[in-house]
């Protein structure tokens, strides 16, 4: 791997990260000035407000405050949750694994199924299967993911009580083994993961289909047929690998959507991840937590983009040798 190229990408990511920090900082300091919020505290005398000000470092010049903020963030000091009084980082720390589980499952399934359907649609372009799949993906794109989640609950948890309607585990259960607990979580994961998969499926499908359609018009595909390769091998061994490349870069753009979906879907299913944390913070106007989750979401998207870039680098020999 070309180290200079990698260093360039990492540097660009760091710059974006700094901008995110700055944005976060200025937004909450400038727009949600803590002093005005502090002033809402009942019976706070001016002297007490001054003391709190200096405690929070609000009497320093803005750049000083920003550096403090950056330093704090680096040390994972993201403030205190106004609701639970725990440290924001602790709240986030507990929530991250659950969000990863949900988002990870959804993304992997959506990519695999979406890519597979995309190949099918592209090789049957213009025929009923293609039209049907296009219609389906357009529908899942247009429908709000939380609405789909609600319908899933309605059908599979209320009318047909197959799956639990929310949360990540059966509360109060004593699990005999690690495996039994994992199975319980898995059962609770089915519906939310389905909602997340359906939300993302359409995008990956469309991208893969479009990519395959482009690749199938290339000259080398005809050459592979001319050599005597059966069509299914031409598709599998030559069309698909070339079509995957744009899929990697284009789906990187979708990562932001995943974050939004996590918020709404976790809310619907009371899934204890970053999304539900955000939802609670919205309702309680818990700004430190909001700031924290926004930061984590942004960092996650930046990292995901970086991974996508590296993945593309590994897959495309044309980039490797330039």
């Amino acid at each position: 791997m070309n180290p200079r190229w990698l260093a360039g990408k990492v540097a660009a990511s760091l710059v974006t990260l700094v901008f995110v920090l700055a944005f976060n900082f200025f937004l909450f300091r400038v727009m949600g000035d803590p002093t005005t919020q502090l002033a809402r505290l009942p019976r706070a005398s001016p002297a007490e407000i001054e003391k709190l000000k200096s405690y929070y470092g609000l009497d320093k010049p803005i750049t000083g405050q920003f550096l403090d903020y950056a330093g704090d963030t680096a040390r994972l000091d993201l403030g205190i949750s106004q609701r639970t009084r725990r440290s924001v980082w602790d709240e986030i720390k507990d929530a991250i694994p659950w969000t990863l589980l949900l988002v990870g499952t959804g993304t992997v399934l959506a990519t695999l199924i979406g890519a597979w359907l995309g190949v099918i649609a592209a090789t049957r372009r213009g025929r009923p299967a293609d039209d049907g799949l296009l219609g389906f993906s357009l529908f899942t794109y247009a429908s709000p993911e939380y609405w789909i989640g609600i319908i899933l609950i309605l059908v599979f948890a209320v009318w047909l009580p197959i799956f639990p309607a929310g949360q990540q585990m059966t509360p109060g259960e004593d699990f005999s083994s690690w495996f039994a607990q994992a199975a319980d979580v898995a059962e609770h994961l089915v519906l939310p993961a389905t909602a997340m998969t359906l939300m993302l499926l359409g995008q990956y499908f469309l991208i893969m289909r479009s990519s395959m359609v482009d690749v199938l018009t290339e000259d080398f595909i005809t050459v592979k047929r001319a050599i005597g390769l059966p069509w299914d091998r031409v598709v599998r061994q030559h069309a698909v690998p070339n079509a995957l490349l744009p899929l990697v870069t284009l789906s990187a753009i979708q990562f932001g959507i995943v974050a939004g979906g996590a918020v709404t879907i976790e809310t619907i299913f009371s899934w204890p991840g970053l999304g539900e944390l955000t939802y609670d913070a919205i309702n309680d106007k818990d700004f430190p937590v909001l700031q924290g989750t926004f930061l984590v979401f942004s960092v996650a998207v930046i990292i995901a983009n970086l991974i996508a870039d590296c993945l593309y680098f590994v897959l495309d020999p044309r980039v490797q040798t330039s």
Binding site: Y141, A142, W147, I151, I153, G260, Y279, I282, K285, S298
Partner: protein
Amino acid sequence: MTDLRVRDLLFDTWRGRIGLGVLGLFVFLAIFGSAIAPDNPTASSLDVLAAPSADHWLGTTENGEDVFSQLLAGARVSIVVGFAAAAISAVLGATVGLLGGYFGGWTDRTLDAFENWFLVIPQIPLMIVLARLLEPSLTVLIAVIGLTSWAGTGRIVRAQVLTLRERAFVERARALGASDGYIIRTHILPNTLPLIFANTVLIVAVAILSEAALAFLGLGDPTRISWGTMLENAFSSGAPSAGAWWYVIPPGLCITLLVLSVSILGYLFEEYVNPRLREQHA
């Protein structure tokens, strides 16, 4: 390849007719929905979470309000926010794209960095943060969505301007002493308008979905009924567990159908503007 006219696209294709028809229906509801609703959408009653009946075609909410009336009234917010936010996004995106693409140099580099940042940041979390900091209202929603959705348009416009800038008629105009403003206004802008328009229609779809999501999370205008707030109320009052499908399915369905119709039209325009896409569908 025949030179399609927009009118032919809209009225002579199945996609155009369905898209236009459904969108037209919702625009009609946005204007007249409240007027033709059978009941006052906020009139509560004791008939709580009741199933559909002759009195209430889509049953009632957790406060005994008529779901059908709320549904009709909710169209307005989606349409208004969707189109207004998309308009703001279009103006912002077009401006950034035009200025950056035309002037190049440091202007472009700064604007481009600015734009890239907006593209990387997760949109819904950003909207959540902005909307929560300001007190939620229709205006805030429109502003927040408009200010965060422009980057895609900006990028497309910039690419187009870059190619246009090198074309002969621009060089000729410059040689004749035309000012930058004149060139942009009379040569560059008219040639990018179709692109901007096609892209903006798709942004309308995104804006409608964004408003619904924000409303669902409790950041909608509390003084207005929208499909998103209907879903929020339904969810927080336990309608799904109660099996109140009449409350839960219609608002989401309306959002879906509206977004579908706008998207179909958007893709139609996109094909018209981008001949390469047209060939793929042939």
